[in-house]
Symmetry: C2
Subunit: 475 residues, 2 copies
Amino acid sequence: MKTIKYQDLSDYYEAQIKKGILKTGDKMPSLRQIRSEKKISMTTAQMVYSVLESKDLIVSKPKSGYIVCSPYNHKIQLPEATNPLQKAENSRPEDAAINVYDTIDQKHIVQLSLGIPATSFLPVAALNKCIKNAVNTIDYCGVQYDPIEGNSRLRQQIAKRTLHWNGSITLEDVITTSGCIPALSYCLQSITQPGDTIAVESPVYFGILQLAKHLRLKVVELSTHPQTGINLDSLEKLLKKQEIATLVIVSNFSNPLGYCMPDDKKEKLVQLMTQYNIPLIEDDIYGDLYFGEKRPANCKTFDKEGMVLLCNSISKSLAPGYRVGWILPGKYKDKVIKTKAIQQISDTAITHQAVALYLESGKYEKHLRKLRQDLYVNYVKVTKAILEYFPDETRCTQPQGGLFLWVELDKSINAFTLYKKALQKNIAIMPGIAFSLQDQYTHCIRLSYASEWNDDVEKAIKELGILIHSMSYVK
Amino acid sequence: MKTIKYQDLSDYYEAQIKKGILKTGDKMPSLRQIRSEKKISMTTAQMVYSVLESKDLIVSKPKSGYIVCSPYNHKIQLPEATNPLQKAENSRPEDAAINVYDTIDQKHIVQLSLGIPATSFLPVAALNKCIKNAVNTIDYCGVQYDPIEGNSRLRQQIAKRTLHWNGSITLEDVITTSGCIPALSYCLQSITQPGDTIAVESPVYFGILQLAKHLRLKVVELSTHPQTGINLDSLEKLLKKQEIATLVIVSNFSNPLGYCMPDDKKEKLVQLMTQYNIPLIEDDIYGDLYFGEKRPANCKTFDKEGMVLLCNSISKSLAPGYRVGWILPGKYKDKVIKTKAIQQISDTAITHQAVALYLESGKYEKHLRKLRQDLYVNYVKVTKAILEYFPDETRCTQPQGGLFLWVELDKSINAFTLYKKALQKNIAIMPGIAFSLQDQYTHCIRLSYASEWNDDVEKAIKELGILIHSMSYVK
């Protein structure tokens, strides 16, 4: 029977793709080929490929026929480990990092720039209820200040969520903040002085660079592998050579590289920092957004001496606009509390209570499962579009979670020019130079797959491909 | 008729007090005296004084009989203009300013320390409705970021409220913040470098000192009059002598002195700063809390060149826990936006929308009228209690608005010891040393009259009086 035949065949190809026998980027046999090889009708052949296409396992590419597209066995090459300039001095990159926020509320712009999850991925109705309940359950309906350390119900929930990786954290170890950026800012302000040097991965989230510059810190950028993170040998060499105030790291699904540092490497890193008695600031904001089987550990898991200041928030998973973040400051608690008292006094009482209620409701895990699926599908679709529309020499990361792809274009492409040209066409991307204080990553871009996939997004990536092709010809 | 007689007599004394013929601190004739002078019965005499007492115009003081207590014509002496040490170096005062926040959520403590309006003074029910409407009216139900500059409906309302003192400010001139402290922090960070010197009034709000210390700024404290504010001659001398990055000032109902700088002096101050091309950071957070006929102007009113960065919030008048503040940054707008982008990105979308809706509803002015009355009554009652329970040599400010009294005790009293003793008795006050970086104001305290008046507050002030008396005897 025909139906069986096309299902059998599509299952066969799906298995080959999943086993990695057919890799992303491989050309599939043409319809004519499988018709004659498998002795099936053209209609059946078309149905086989249409099933594989609907499952996002192959993609039709103009002039090339069908191409395999499976996120776990790319033929798109990974970028190599970075080899950044390690000078502890700051050149002045263009302020793309600031201007990028100009697009926050511009609905006509296709947002491939910011790491803001699409509203349709968020549990808005449940959160709305929590806001209403927050007003009814919080002291003074939320018009008064929270204590400096934060809402204790929220701190309790945050502590509870650490149980699966740490049995000893209590609400006393948690300080809330108005988002992850204030968390990072308070940590840096608490343990550094102007003129100090800090170490970071490279490329590194521009927000950390902007903060460091603002606080007059020097920055050393470390060699970083796109799948396992910073090079510990480089770090140890640096620690031996130079006084470093702290290392700032996003150990899980780092922004922009998307790597997940293996757990044993995290443990070694914490041992190394402890040995040199240098605090480690860890931003774990993407840790819950994994594509694999389970949540990876974080550096804090291996922190026996309180050397790790863990920063986190719900801005990537629940509600950026609620401004709810937190710090597990380890032994730097007093300093961090003082910094918060000086800069902010209190967070917004109502939204912090609302998030406490949401976490208490037990719905968060279910939401995260759905969110991870949504993001994974987005990631596959964006990767597929890159494969389809970008030049063949393009390299691209294969993140195991998080929100971002790091795309290396041909070295001749000026990605800042691309960024400006794209913006003229109402497409927002992040140029690579924003992710270093040195003059590097000029041919790279970061693409966010946090926006909901639709025809506009696909058109935008196609448009980017056209721009990149046109810029390649110009060289 | 008896009834008429006691009313006539109480009206007569009330008029004498209001005209200032009888001043605060004056002794009233004894009951026996008025009985024989006015030829009335003892019962009538008692009724006259009981009416005056119920109107808070007189107070019964043990052993002294009845004392006049009218806030506009005190016999309590005003403190003299301050003559602070003008060294631009920081001593290290005790961290009373930080520890004081420990009492935020401790309900057993009588709060005479923090400038937080009592919940009963705030329009909580109307605000609750605005929160619910905010969720329904804001884009994405408030789960997404606001633009960096802030919610445009809120900025529109803030601009509109400047109409009565400035015809030209539009929403483009407004940047929202998550409270007034972040506003001050962004302004200081935008226009100073570590090592710079800033000028402040003296005594000065400890939050400004803590911020300055945190940002590694040196602080020069200027001589300040308890009714008219900083001495402009001292300021001009300083400007001639030394490079100053900015002056930070609370021109209306300053914290802690409560002075209101006369409008022509504000104009001169702005001219002076403009002449020396030095930005002026003005904190106008108490401006709406006036006891007089109309809102005083602020320095920004006289700012033709964009030299004034005006900071404000609704934390003293509507809802501290909503974290809604703003800056009118004048010509420093780009710098301030950049600082906010680096440190915070977005405020809390829902509470900012809620305040926009509340302001649009037109209820704010009515609420402010009520709030001013409540605070004025509180002020009178606290002053009356001080007069009753504190030693006679006590000097005390006569604020024309705001939330605070500045009380000068006998020079032999260590107010920090008093602060600690009071805290043991569950009474929170602010010791004077927190209001300077030099070793001064050691015999002063700041008392807030923002908490609702009740028997506990009266008992607390009585208790403070007992403590002060006991410490006086010890000398």
